[in-house]
Amino acid sequence: MAEDLVLDTTIRDWVLIPLSVVMVLIGILRYFVSKLIRTFQNPDGKIVKEGQVVIRARNLRSSADFIPPKSFRARRTYYSNEENGILHVPKGQAPNPQAQMFSDPNMAMDMMKKNLSMIIPQTLTFAFVNFFFSGFVAAKIPFPLTQRFRSMLQNGIDLSTVDVSYVSSRSWYFLNLFGLRGLFSLILGEENAMDDTQRMMQMGGFGFDPSKSLGAEKDSLDIVQHDWVLPKFEQRAEAVLRKLAK
């Protein structure tokens, strides 16, 4: 068991390297295909407007200390008073994203396209790898592992006496599938790496509700402690000048 297996160099030339190259190329192909079929939907004017309002309110909150108390209070009232503040969302008027999604067939179509562009290439690659490269001991991991990893790393060869660190070709496919993500983010740009995780997020959370973020922003604007910094600026300037004079 401890003896090293002697692997034929043709396995390297015709299994290990082609398999890895195919994985990389298919990843690139998938990226461009999904880019092609992605539809650009015009954002709804109302949603954009609400997003801008939230950004303005956030700016006010982060730089609140630089304006006098009176101006701050005036602005806060403009944003968050209970009658016509622009962050205030009347109850019952918030659009229901679920209903919106059913009324808009484009959205469902888009999701289906995204799913398909993820699942189809994976199934195809797996079938391809199974057909051409099944049953080889293709690689050896340079560190020892326990017996538990046998089913993970030696998928496709049923030998219980081979050392666990030897990897079958099918498992090498899986290792590639996970490990190449970093490489893709380098050669295809950041968006590719983020796509998958973002898709998962969207499936879980089902979009976000703009009225909710308005409400949250309103709440945090309400609790801002205003503390005007201009009176303290003299001391700050003094400190800076002293430092310079030294």
Partner: protein
């Protein structure tokens, strides 16, 4: 290291008004992730060619990551707080994500050079 970080405007003084430009911050994080991924892939190939096995390889990974961190800090002229949220970001971000790429390329290079 490929792209330049942009300074996030931050006034620090005796009053608490941190003023962070979120977009620049995000760009800096992207730069960190980019350099970490690149370093883990390059490090993996180097480890494989040199024929490290077992624990040595993982120690090599730690060394590579430490070198990357020092490089990033040097790029920020060691004034971490004007570019990033803190030391944690520079030292730990993208550490585990890089490990997977490292192991893959380590195995790949090791197999090609030493096994067959």
């Amino acid at each position: 290291m490929a792209a330049d970080g942009i300074s996030v405007q931050k006034l620090n003084g005796d009053f608490n008004a941190p003023f962070i430009n979120a977009e620049n911050m995000q760009n800096n994080m992207k730069v960190i992730n980019y350099s970490r991924t690149l370093m883990s892939i390059v490090g993996g190939i180097i480890a494989g060619i040199l024929g490290f096995t077992g624990l040595t390889g993982f120690i090599f990974y730690f060394v590579v990551m430490a070198v990357t961190s020092v490089g990033l800090a040097a790029k920020a002229k060691f004034s971490i707080h004007s570019y990033f949220e803190g030391w944690n970001r520079v030292l730990l971000d993208g550490f585990l994500a890089g490990l997977m790429s490292f192991v893959l390329f380590w195995t790949f290079a090791y197999d090609i050079v030493h096994i067959f």
